[in-house]
Symmetry: C2
Subunit: 306 residues, 2 copies
Amino acid sequence: MNEIKIFSPATIANVSCGFDVLGLALDTVGDEMIIRKVKQKGVRITKIIGQDLPLETHKNVAGVAALAFLAKTDSEFGFEIEIDKQIKPGSGIGSSAASSAGAVWAINELLEKPFKTIDLVRFAMEGERLATGVAHADNVAPALFGGFTLVRSYEPLDIVSIHTPRELFATVIHPHIEIKTSDARNILKTKVPLKDAIKQWGNVGGLISGLYTEDYDLIGRSLEDYIIEPIRSILIPAFDAVKKQSLKAGALGCGISGSGPSIFALCKGEESALNVAEAMKLVYNKVGVDYDIHVSKVNKKGIKIL
Amino acid sequence: MNEIKIFSPATIANVSCGFDVLGLALDTVGDEMIIRKVKQKGVRITKIIGQDLPLETHKNVAGVAALAFLAKTDSEFGFEIEIDKQIKPGSGIGSSAASSAGAVWAINELLEKPFKTIDLVRFAMEGERLATGVAHADNVAPALFGGFTLVRSYEPLDIVSIHTPRELFATVIHPHIEIKTSDARNILKTKVPLKDAIKQWGNVGGLISGLYTEDYDLIGRSLEDYIIEPIRSILIPAFDAVKKQSLKAGALGCGISGSGPSIFALCKGEESALNVAEAMKLVYNKVGVDYDIHVSKVNKKGIKIL
């Protein structure tokens, strides 16, 4: 096999209570990529459609991730990468992570899997370092493992795949405003009240338990963020209204996707997720903000061959 | 049935990463209680052996918990309580919780279960309020539900029973020194670094996941407390040495039980737990601190009839 065409999913990081540790993969939105094994060594980005992104390998997250991979092998091959960029950069649903993760996953397939998934996370994190200045894993982990993932620890890197209930759907609305990940991070306080932190880890425990037992009510009750959302939501137009209307329309819970501006809701079943999508759209139609909207089953598989 | 004899277990609260939210029940140490349904209304503590504790109903945690129960019924009966107090007060393994939980559980049995377990938690919390000034639930919940429990939220009260792996054992050593719960609480900081809180809730997520999947290594890796232990452990003689030797002897993890001074270790299998007990004893024998030691399977049932 010398060429592979893949789908690399968008992802929701944080998932309300799990700031910097939890993430999940989507199914209906993601980048499509073609990766080609060639004789000429090195990595070349040969084509990008859909977005205006750098073709220089060292400036492209997929390129940097691929180079990190190849630096750990003595492969006699090089790789060409084409990206059909369907996830908008800066949307808060893991745009850079999808391209980084997709590149290393595909190269690993073409080389007959010299590396484990956890190693691929490490390589893809180098793409994240280029995109945001921080080599975080909460988007690349769910893209590579599928389903819900927990980044339990960075030193050493410890990723836990969490059981994902069958009927879990996500609705994501992306209002067309720009929030830089670095700004979204700088706005946060470096110290937090212990009493809020306790509530937060109570919710992380509840969410993980609800996922394993497929207790949708418990999942919903646990989707509450006492630390980050009260601060970051200020940056997102009509956040409170979107959340309120989503819950009213039947969402289990609703919060900020990654560092925003996308807002996600988790729902039991597709019908509920579609109802929530209508409720979200109504809010932004009223306030006159343009948006994209996605309704997706939580993707248990992660990246897949097309 | 007019009389019931029960075993109400000692419990380990916090369990390293789960400060104020996690707890588990023990099997080999607990209070024995006789509760008698009588014609004379009200609650009387008729006998306490093993410890010097108040017999006045309003000053005794079991009495106060029983009164909280009866205030929510129109029972035509009263109750007499005898306590064989086998858990030492101030040991950090839920002494007051065992008596409070035992009293309300037994009365509920004698009245043919008018209340659910979650309601019994509420009544037993009144005993905790008397004992420590705070109506916490992280000891009474595992005593009443058995196994591992998560207090996800207090308002509203939301207790989650967590799956408990079959081979999970605890070793607990109680050095004979006094730490008041109020002192152990006052020493804590009211604000904590966000970066430490993130590691902590990563570990809570890892621990809960490890419990459901019976992944003992993951349980062990997650038993790390970045917030409370570094401060409270200073109050416990030779804490670092006990922890180090426990891990060396094969413990999955080791930390402070509740607000101390007891130190607990979780182990896979009884043999490992016994090895850890020997290692803990050696440390305190060397430094010349008296102690009690308990080795117990994690008790999945909670309170039981004898």
